[in-house]
Symmetry: C2
Subunit: 387 residues, 2 copies
């Protein structure tokens, strides 16, 4: 096991009808900016629940944060924060709204030239404007971590940043929100959380016996609850385990003391930036090819995964590892998620070269759990994902 | 899954040679009280490592905190805290030293008549004098939770208290400390952590699918590493997984959203208070009888545990559940831990009545995961544990 430091100060308030606790959790004298997305919260009743809990507080609203939170739109919110002396933010939404709020948290205190520089410089954010979240879409884990991913349409870029200053003060998780999530987003959420775990687990054996078992626990739980909530999002037991699994998949715990990969995300982000493909689906496109390409490096963990998560008991280590990849593809496909790029766009040719060039331009030459992934590898992996 | 609130702000610093990070983690201008136990840290080199890291800080030492931290001794430390204007405490030890330090953390701010009243009143502690820990004995999880158990020789009592004000600011976990732990304490630590998980898991099915799997992960890891570290405490991989498992067993995570029992501990504490039996061993004495007595209530979880943790695939649910109890006994016994009271004391007769009377005197009439355990049950369970 590697050495690590771990601290996660976010308070989780989990359960039925917990949105009302905003009343007591929010600082009474705060000037609050309430942020949300495209307006689905106005259709599913969450907006009313939040507004009702916010009665008596000083609140300004900022709606319209899109999926893949857009830099230019966030700059508008930043102006409001400055002009209105906002002292606390409340993100009501899924990963995009929460990630946008985190960017604003950092930007509110940023002293540099342009807030975008925070994303290219990759410096950890030590202090941010305090914020909380009401989670409406389980998927990204953003409600209990300190990372954010921001998109810039102008340059077709999608970049990550984070740091100990960007944890939510508290996050409210009411599994009843799952009832009103469209199936497309539900399966995206399952796929996203599942791949988050894989990025932290599918590397090489590193003596993290407990971490491995925790990761496998989340994968097994997602596999168990996926068909139940897709069939019946009102199943509270399945919804609550889905929601808690998504949070635990990326709140930092399972990555402590073990190597991480994250290059499936790096490549996937490019597919979203280039073609607007849903984030989760880009991961389902890239992951199988990535594991096939790095088979020799990852085969021990792939076989362990096949044995423990998918109960594959027959065959050599290599055969089990191979089965592990196939089972993963079948799991995504079984939820209606296509696992090739060609299923999403006709412009596949040249994509691999474009993405490899971008990695090269950014100097991303030693990525992945062994620092061995370079732009040439990226080109091959993306190409393998075409059809 | 039940509703829950979860927040754990303790920073974990985990790995080889991390004691030196005290230098940068401790507040520079603090007046520090360094607390430790019977002096084993002076033999195994940890004392020197800590003192070396503390150079330049204002430090007063208080050694001699015994296993089962004794109220009267802690009152002496409390006088030093007041007289010397201590602003930060550093516990260097295992669960007893850390628990003693937590009691002092609360007592330093306590306004009532007698600090013991904090233990009998069971009011949550909202604010304490800040403290950190250097863990020398993995077992109790006290390094990452906000609970403490204090013993009073005068009245032969052992009581628990806690609250959000009693989390360590940070805890340093260097698995290399395991090398110098005597085998007796090593197997106590494994048994203690194992039983902590059981108390939060061996109840009834409550829809905590992920929590169950996390609990089973810790149990499986402890079972896997136990023989390795008993044979070779210098095995870093086993030691680090043992250490992290003990922390995760009782840092609050696996208990969220599911019922807990904790009556094995309540009865076990009495055996320590009456006969001075090692805490972990009292749990090994009580747990099997407790599960046999409450078999009908716990059999579903016992069977799930037998299947998933011990890989028992044959038999009816009841037979599997029975096997689960037997496997647990065998696991303890295999480490040299006797599982009957008579193995520790000749005064078994009357013990059950004494303990039942104490529960009755304290008004503890509805304990356990269903609030159904009363003093009559306690009497029967303890009696079943005699031989």
């Amino acid at each position: 096991m590697n050495s690590f430091q771990y601290k996660n100060p976010t308070k989780i308030i989990f359960g039925k009808d917990k949105i009302a606790t905003l009343k007591t959790e929010l600082p009474a004298d705060a000037r609050i900016l309430m942020l949300y997305g495209g307006g689905s919260i106005k259709k599913n009743g969450i907006y009313e629940q939040v507004k009702s809990a916010l009665e008596g507080f000083q609140v300004i609203e900022f709606g319209g944060i899109p999926a893949n939170p857009e830099y230019d739109i966030l700059l508008e919110a930043l102006q409001i924060i400055e002009k209105e002396n906002i002292s606390f933010m409340l993100a009501v939404g899924g990963g995009s709204v929460i990630d946008g709020t985190k960017f604003l948290s950092a930007a509110a205190y940023y002293q540099g030239e342009q807030p975008w520089d925070m994303l290219t410089s990759r410096q950890p954010i030590l202090k941010g404007l305090p914020f909380a979240t009401v989670l409406t879409l389980p998927a990204t884990g953003s409600e209990m971590n300190s990372g954010t991913v921001i998109t810039r349409e102008e340059t077709k870029e999608k970049l990550a940043m984070g740091g100990p200053g960007l944890f939510p003060v508290f996050s409210i998780l009411d599994p009843q929100v799952v009832i009103s999530i469209p199936e497309r987003q539900l399966v995206n959420g399952i796929t996203d959380a599942f791949t988050h775990v894989l990025e932290q687990y599918m590397t090489y054996p590193a003596g993290g016996i407990l971490q491995d078992r925790f990761a496998e626990s989340i994968l097994q739980t997602l596999i168990e609850v996926a068909p139940v909530i897709i069939k019946d999002p009102a199943n509270y037991e399945a919804a609550s385990n889905f929601m808690w699994s998504c949070t635990m998949a990326l709140n930092g715990l399972i990555q402590q003391g073990v190597p991480g990969d994250w290059t499936v995300h790096a490549m996937g982000h490019e597919l979203t930036a280039l073609y607007g493909i849903d984030h989760a689906r880009t991961l389902a496109i890239i992951a199988p090819s990535h594991y096939r390409y790095y088979f020799d490096n990852k085969k021990e963990k792939l076989a362990q995964y096949a044995e423990r998560v998918w109960k594959i008991t027959e065959g050599t280590l290599e055969e089990k590892a191979q089965k592990g990849i196939e089972k993963t593809e079948a799991f995504f496909q079984g939820m209606g998620i296509a696992t090739t790029l060609a299923a999403y766009t006709e412009e596949v040719v040249g994509t691999a070269q474009t993405i490899a060039q971008r990695f090269s331009d950014r100097g991303w030459k030693s990525m992945g759990e062994r620092g061995a992934l370079n732009p040439e590898d990226v080109e091959k992996i993306v190409e393998m994902s075409y059809y």
